[in-house]
Every structure is written in C-alpha cells, then in structure tokens.
Symmetry: C2
Subunit: 254 residues, 2 copies
C-alpha cells in the first residue's frame, strides 16, 4: 500500500487486453481477481445504478469478494472511477479519414456521442473529471490529425479542438443528465412545462416556450456542431463563399 503503483510487472502505460497474470508463475493466490475484472464490473454497476451508488463494498459483493481485496488491484475508489472512465474512452473507435475534414469532425464527434449515449450514467466520469491517463490522447490525436489535414496550423488546431470538445462536454452532459428519454424527446409533462414557461412572467421565455419546453438532444447536438464546423470553415477560407467542394489547403497532408 505504500507504493500503490508498480504491482504490475509491465509498467507500460495503458491496460493489457486480457489475462495479465500478475506475475510469471503465481497466477492464483486467491480468487483470480484482476484489475480488469474489477473495472469491468464497476462499469456495469455504474451503468445500472449510477456513479453515486457505486461503493467499494457493493463492488466487492458483486465480485464475490471482500471489500478490502479490491485494494490489491486498485489504489482506491478514485482509481476505480478513473479506470471506468478509461474503459469508457477505450470503447470509442475513431473513424477513418474520408478526405473531407468536415465529415471527419462530424464522425469523430458522433463516435464520442455514441459512447456517451451507450453509457449515460458512466459518461459524467469522463465529462466532468480531467483524466490523467494516456487514453484520452488517442482521441486528441485523431482530432488533431483531422484538423491538420484540413490545413489548420497547430495553435489554431488546438483552439479548435478545445472549442469543439467544450461544446461536446456541455451538450452530452445535458443529454445524459436529463434522465430517461423516449426517441430522444423528453416525455412527462411537456404540455405542462410549456404552460409554466408561458406563465413565467419572462416575455421572451414565453415567446420561445414551445421550443424551450422540449429538448431533442440529437437535433441540438447537430445544430451546435454545424455552427462550429461552419465557423471553422469560414476561418480556414475567410474570403471564399463556403462551397461543398474541398477547402483550399486540403490534402496538404495525406
């Protein structure tokens, strides 16, 4: 416990895919518990009951193990949550380049959203805590490759990446926090909410009440993303009208 790291013989970053016997010839001193099993079970538990309901004791019970046994595979509860977040990120597979950087941006954003919608209760772990792992770097690499191919200089590419990422975090946080939905549209008292907004005493809120009462998350996602893509496109070629053809400096790299 003094040195929570380095109980693993392979200190390379990242996580081994399977098995990973902790040491060469000592596979089962106990019940075959592994870091991967712990984190995978934690993910399913978070998916079912939410982040706040996760406790080391419950996790251990599900694994058929004493709570303290977990601490031989993870440093503490925070490390479990970090591990779940990494598991989440690892499930994202960045799509390949299409030649149109706008399409590539859309596809990468969609992949991110897909993962969040797939694990709505685990998503806040990734969206709200800053991760220390290298797992996030893969996504960063994909995004920067797209922006580089589009012709952005490195500084602007980083700014663009951070802008889009901030938007993604915000929208997805809203989407996964808005409880269970049906066909992307919030149910339950929609008409009542519209009436409340109309009577709120705020004139512009009343003016937009029909559209404020509901929130179709995919539509909002696409709207904001298209705003950012359009603005980036405009920034790339400030003089030209936006045409569906390739941008000016495309295919500069690859």
């Amino acid at each position: 416990m003094k040195r929570p790291d380095m109980s693993d013989p392979a200190p390379r970053a990242g996580l081994a895919p399977t098995g990973a016997t902790p040491r060469r010839g000592r596979p089962r001193g106990g019940s075959g518990l592994t870091r991967e099993k712990v984190l995978q079970t934690a993910l399913t538990l978070v998916d079912r009951d939410g982040t706040e309901a996760l406790s080391m004791r419950k996790l251990a019970t599900v694994l058929g193990v004493d709570a303290m046994s977990l601490y031989h595979h993870v440093a503490n509860k925070d490390a479990v949550l970090d591990g779940v977040a990494e598991l989440f990120l690892a499930a994202i597979e960045p799509p390949g380049p299409t030649g149109d950087w706008r399409e590539d941006v859309r596809a990468l954003a969609a992949a991110f959203r897909h993962a969040a919608v797939q694990h709505p209760r685990a998503a806040p772990l990734v969206l709200t805590r800053q991760l220390k792992s290298n797992q996030g770097l893969a996504g960063t690499e994909s995004a920067l490759a797209i922006l580089h191919a589009a012709g952005f200089p490195p500084e602007e590419a980083v700014h663009a990446l951070r802008s889009v990422l901030a938007f993604l975090v915000g929208t997805l946080l809203r989407e996964v926090s808005s409880g269970p939905t049906f066909s992307g549209q919030n149910l339950g008292g929609l008409a009542g909410r519209r009436a409340d907004l109309k009577d709120s005493g705020f004139p512009h809120v009343a003016w937009a009440a029909p559209h404020l009462a509901a929130c179709h998350h995919l539509t909002e996602f696409n709207f904001g993303l298209e705003l950012l893509v359009a603005a980036l496109e405009q920034r790339l070629s400030p003089r030209r009208a936006p045409s569906p053809r390739a941008g000016p400096r495309t295919r500069k790299a690859r």
Copy 2:
C-alpha cells in the same frame, strides 16, 4: 418533513433578499437559523473546501448548531446544494443591451464566466446538475431577448442558446476543474508536459505539443465564443459579408 415545501408563507419563486421571518410573529423559537444563513454558509464552505468536503455536520458546526437543526430549513443535503447553486446564479447580473447583439452575447457569456471564476469550487454545482429552480430562467430570458433582438426566430434562438450554453458549460468546467492557476496559465511542469507530449508516440500530438501543454483559459473561452458568434452571424445573413454595422432586423424589439 412529509411536506418539505410550503413552510414558507410566500410561495413566490425566488428568494427574499434579507430577513424573511418565516411567519408573522414567530421570529425566534431558537437560535435564529434561517434558510438564507444556511445556504450562504454552505456557499462559503464550498468555496473554501470544495463540494465534496461539504457535510451537514460541518455546516452545522460552522453555524454553531446541531446537524439536525438544519433539516428545519432545508429538506436534505441535496436541497442545500441546489440552494448554493441558486445563490451562485443569483449573483450573475445580466448586462444591459448595447444595440449590438454580438456584444450582448459576449457580455452575457462573460458575466457567466465571471461568476464561475469567482466561485470555482461551487461552479460545478451549476454546470453539472440540471436545476429545477426558476433562478435559471432569468438568464434564459436575457439570452433570448438578445437573440430575439438580433432577429432570430424562436426555434433558432433556442438552438443558439443551447449551443452557446453547452460550450460555456464545457469550457468553464474545464477551467474550474484545472486546479489553481496563475494569470490564467497553468504552472507546474509545463516544460515537462510538453516533453511528455512530444514523446507520446502520437505524431499530431507531438506536432501541437507546445500548444497542448498549456491552456490559457480566457483565450480558449474567447476563441470558442467567437466561433459561435461568427457562425450565428453567418446564419442570420447568409448572403452578406459580415459587416460591423447592425444586423438586418435589429431594433425589431426594443
């Protein structure tokens, strides 16, 4: 406790500014504890130690009171956090209209950011949980008034509002979560981080390493906001070149 609401004789939304004796002639059955005192103390406590360090017992101790006494003024701990979030929102004063909707959007966003930077540890309460209070409606009203004056139809105004808000949530969450900063720039191992990124094995990460290693939050904030403003402007007048003059249908309402 069965009916946690309506212990207040004035069920109008919002919170009375001061005093607010719960009933006409029964001001002090005990130590003069009030909901406002509880929430204000909770805010200062959160500002000092963070959200996770807040407990009902510590809060009560600071107030010189037993923990259970708090439950006569708030329903439970979650209500305390909601109240702190409302206090946070109430501190935002939306700037008045300037006649240029782009300036108004910038000013409103800046006011939001100002509040977040002022209370970095309380900000996640507002950014991550969806609020049920009417307090947030004031900000919504301001934003919609700006977008309405700019000439957006209601549906598009809501989309625009949600896009900008999502971006704000994302950036500010990043800014307040990135620990203490000095002059907006992260200190501590900056050179080391740049070296790590260069050696990460990801070519584009290495390409942009100098700009990835640091994060000047205000610059990122302005960059993304300008992207969105430019895109909205383009959307308002798709045919015209963006001119510094007023937009097309300005001064339609006030």
